[in-house]
């Protein structure tokens, strides 16, 4: 599953990196996968950073982002979208960053442009403590982060904005939920991403009217309250909808 092969014949480009904002949803709130850089630069900068790496000269940007994502999580074929390019000259020249930079094989004096991506992961598919990858990576609630290394906090903010905007237009939220989910979970997901409360009844009405969910003949089990029915996202129905020119969820 995890590809650790060295790339024979290809070289790292010292000037271009990709950083990934990997979102998850723990059924309560939005989370993001961050890496603990350890004590190396604890004195001068935040320990937590977004996963990222330089790109190889023989891969395109999307490939590089997928590679970074796979190297960290072992996951392939994940929803991934570009946020944009970031980079001030000399932004990484601080002495305290040198060790960290070496660890990702960057040249401390090089000027680096970062292309940021965000991706949406079913949190159940990547449980860091149960994984062999990156022992120093973990899910952090998006709203509890107040700083990140380098310009990663700006990148996180941009990724949140892009996600917020995108979910008003395309039903990408399902990538954050289990295959089978309840309307309440979907409701909480939208509230988390849009960062505002949504009326329960109005939300359910709006979603159901779109007719892009399959109501499974199946209910939650073992919950200490009335069990909810489970739904699945129906790609075919959504395709029908878009072919009618639909491009706005009205949130």
């Amino acid at each position: 599953m995890h590809n650790n092969q060295k790339k024979i014949g290809s070289e790292l480009n010292p000037n271009v990196s990709v950083d990934c904002v990997i979102f998850g949803f723990d059924l309560e709130k939005l989370t993001v996968l961050v890496i603990d850089r350890g004590e190396i630069s604890a004195a001068n900068g935040p320990r937590l950073a977004l996963p990222g790496n330089l790109i190889y000269d023989d891969e395109n940007l999307d490939q590089a982002a997928n590679r970074v994502l796979e190297e960290l999580t072992g996951l392939k074929n994940i929803y991934l979208e570009q946020v944009g390019a970031f980079g001030d000259p000399f932004r990484i020249h601080k002495e305290s960053d040198r060790e960290w930079l070496k660890s990702i094989r960057a040249q401390p004096d090089a000027r680096v442009i970062t292309v940021a991506y965000f991706s949406l992961v079913k949190i159940e598919d990547y449980l860091p403590h149960a994984s062999s990858f990156a022992k120093n990576a973990g899910w952090a609630p998006v709203n509890e982060l107040s700083e990140l290394a380098f310009d990663h906090f700006d990148i996180l903010q941009a990724a949140k904005d892009k996600l917020k905007q995108k979910i008003k237009i395309q039903p990408i939220g399902f990538n954050l939920l289990p295959e089978k989910f309840t309307l309440s979970q979907l409701h909480r997901l939208y509230e988390s991403i849009l960062d505002k409360p949504l009326d329960k009844r109005n939300f359910r009405r709006k979603i159901q009217k779109l007719n892009i969910l399959s109501n499974l003949k199946e209910k939650q089990r073992g919950v200490p309250h009335k069990p909810s029915s489970l739904y699945e996202f129906n790609e075919e129905k959504y395709q029908e909808l878009t072919q009618k020119g639909f491009d706005n969820f009205g949130f």
Copy 2:
């Protein structure tokens, strides 16, 4: 006005360029500023390309985009927004591109990442034939272009999409119009960008209800039909509106 100084002590970064999609509006349709690369690669690739250049190591991406825009048009303080980063490995390795690449000082074998921007220019502010800059640049109707050099057609498409999306959220269209404009001109502008017809009466009602236009006590002169009244965009009123949480024009 035009800054032709060489940048002393700074160097071009051979791996990162910016390309600008400079939109204009001729009161009929959306246009874009393209450069004719001449006969150099006429046999193998389209002559027309977007303006762009490599970045210097001591400027950030936004600065580079502003520089490219100013070098071409002489204009400063123009609306400018990043579209995203583009770049496949070896995308520019075709033999036929070498001369052109030399002319923008790129190394033909280098792998180049391009960061694309779009900007909105009042067409009256840049009339190529009346300008001392770039004799080989000119406005082309966006919908009449069917190909561009390199991956510039993809970039143009992405820029159009971004503009379309953005104008649904922010009143940036005014950057394409003269200070004083008519509602019909604004109407045609929105139709051009959204690429669909909008009912005249409904459009006018919607715009007027927003209350972000000042109705000047002034009318068109010399037109061979009933003269229209002129309007101005009112930044203060728009600020009030946004502070009420407004973030959607409903197109």
